[in-house]
């Protein structure tokens, strides 16, 4: 092992592994957004703001009321799932047949409402859980436990969604609905109910992401901007609505950010990622794995 590490640049290896760990959480967010887009055919511009609300929920439960992290997490996931269902019921459902631009404007409006709500209710202070997880040393490389835990939890979350989608009747209906909406009634499927369930599932994924991100990042009303745009880029690069494409694109972006940060500052990692995105849009405008219809 040591011989292998001597040959290999350990900083490079550390960056690569950190990229993979980062990719897990990004993939979770991309899955949630792709699910909503693939099934309901709308884009939740405010998706990262749901994560922000979830992070505040975690903060207040853990820091303010002294609830243990592992008890607060399921409540947060449930809360954001309900928020997702409410978003569909109150905002999307009345606009289902409206032109896409109106749907975008409406969810964009929700983004500002949620940001302003958080600013008024919680102030603009940066807050954190105050939980300091140890750092895992492996040879000369250091990995934060928070990242490792997030990566594993994100994978478990994605596997759970995969099993739900492939093993259950409701999950199969969720996969079927985008292929032929009109005949769903012939199968005895209530489309409205499937939309609500899908929205709750998308919310639950945002809630899980919130529980994981709150371990690594401070909460503030604009924290959604730190990963909202990158999630959209990932989904577009993977092909909107394409789950596998989104999964691969998450790790591509995470590696670019992580390796870019290794050779220069972290901010340059993001610049590189966005530059890569622009180039890719010229080469493959429909995404890495263009969605087959």
């Amino acid at each position: 092992m040591q011989a292998f590490l001597d040959i290999f640049d350990i900083y490079l290896l550390e960056a690569v592994i950190n990229g993979i760990l980062l990719g897990g959480v990004l993939a979770l967010l991309a899955l949630g957004l792709n699910l909503i887009f693939g099934v309901i055919d709308v884009t939740w511009i405010c998706y990262a703001e749901l994560v922000m609300i979830g992070m505040y929920a975690m903060y207040f439960m853990v820091q303010y009321y002294g609830v243990s992290y592992f008890i607060a997490a399921p409540f947060t996931i449930l809360l954001v799932a309900l928020l997702g269902a409410a978003l569909h019921y109150l905002v999307i459902a009345p606009l289902l047949t409206a032109p896409p631009i109106n749907q975008l404007l409406a969810t964009g409006g929700v983004l500002f409402v949620l940001q302003s709500f958080a600013t008024v209710a919680f102030g603009i202070d940066f807050r954190n859980l105050g939980i300091r997880l140890p750092v895992l040393a492996f040879g000369d490389m250091n990995f934060s436990y928070a990242r490792l835990l997030s990566f594993i939890a994100a994978l478990v979350g994605m596997v759970a969604v995969y099993l739900f989608m492939t093993r259950t009747f409701t999950g199969t209906a969720i996969r079927a609905i985008s292929q032929d909406r009109q005949i769903m009634a012939l199968m005895g499927v209530d489309t409205k109910r499937i939309y609500i369930i899908t929205s709750a599932l998308g919310g639950a994924l945002a809630g899980l992401a919130a529980c994981l991100l709150v371990l690594q990042y401070d909460v503030h009303p604009f924290v959604g901007l730190s990963f909202g745009p990158i999630t959209f880029l990932i989904c577009v690069l993977g092909g909107l609505g394409n789950f596998i494409g989104g999964f691969i694109a998450s790790f591509v972006f995470a590696e670019i950010i992580s390796l870019g940060g290794l050779f220069s500052d972290l901010e340059w990692g993001y610049v590189l990622a966005f530059a890569f995105f622009i180039v890719m849009m010229f080469i493959r405008p429909a995404g890495l794995l263009a969605r087959r219809r």
Partner: protein
């Protein structure tokens, strides 16, 4: 079993059905024949709730179909195999069949129904993990009929099952319809393939320009001059 009384239906300002009266008794196989655009598919859609009529009544075993939400009509025992099959092309055969058993009443019978469908269509069992969209037209039609049978229906609505299939396969499809009806299922079948369909049904209705023009037993229809001239080319 199924009773339509003076049904008017259409799309927006276009009226496709005018005062249609139609009845299907339990255990019968009934055909609906007529030219393209006569309203045959609209008739099927009205029965399964995909579109709602402007006027008239539809009853299934005494239950008002029109006040039943569209997604609950399949629970009344009506399974509709739509025109052009309408499978979920990117789902496996297995998943397509699973969708047919989606409703609560059918879920607990899923394994049992799957066995029945696989017995009727051994080919589907061979192809169960294949994407439905990659199969041949005949296989897709089998899958569409199998999907409808998964709900354990009392009444099977077949909309142009022979459309777009090679002549040999058309033969097989009609053989299947015979077998399905021999199993005691009530069938309402819409077809342009008049000669073939009149061989498998007991009675038939002739529909033209949205109205029922004639009806009678298969033998009567085959002998009728209107049908002969217009559809049998005799």
């Amino acid at each position: 079993m199924l009773e339509l009384r003076s049904v008017d239906a259409g799309y927006g300002s276009f009226q496709a059905l005018f005062g249609v009266n139609l009845e299907v008794k339990a255990g019968e196989a009934v055909g609906v024949i007529g030219p393209n655009g006569a309203g045959k598919t609209t008739l099927m859609r009205v029965i399964s709730g995909l579109i709602r009529p402007a006027r008239g009544s539809i009853k299934m075993e005494g239950v008002d179909v029109l006040t039943t939400p569209a997604h609950r009509i399949v629970s009344l025992g009506i399974a509709h195999v739509p025109e052009n099959r309408r499978l979920f092309p990117q789902l496996s055969v297995d998943d397509n069949l699973k969708m047919g058993a989606f409703m609560k009443e059918a879920r607990h019978k899923y394994a049992e129904r799957l066995e029945i469908v696989f017995e009727l269509f051994p080919r589907l069992k061979e192809r169960r993990y294949q994407m439905a969209g990659t199969m041949s037209g005949g296989e897709q039609q089998m899958c569409a009929i199998g999907r409808a049978l998964m709900s354990d229906p009392k009444l099977l609505l077949l909309d142009e099952p022979s459309a777009g299939l090679a002549p040999v396969v058309v033969q097989q499809v009609f053989e299947l319809v015979k077998r399905i009806r021999a199993s005691g299922l009530t069938v309402l079948i819409v077809e342009q393939n008049v000669q073939q369909v009149l061989r498998v049904v007991d009675r038939a209705y002739l529909i033209e320009a949205g109205s029922i023009r004639a009806s009678g037993s298969s033998a009567e229809m085959l002998a009728s001059d209107t049908v002969k001239e217009a559809y049998l080319g005799v």
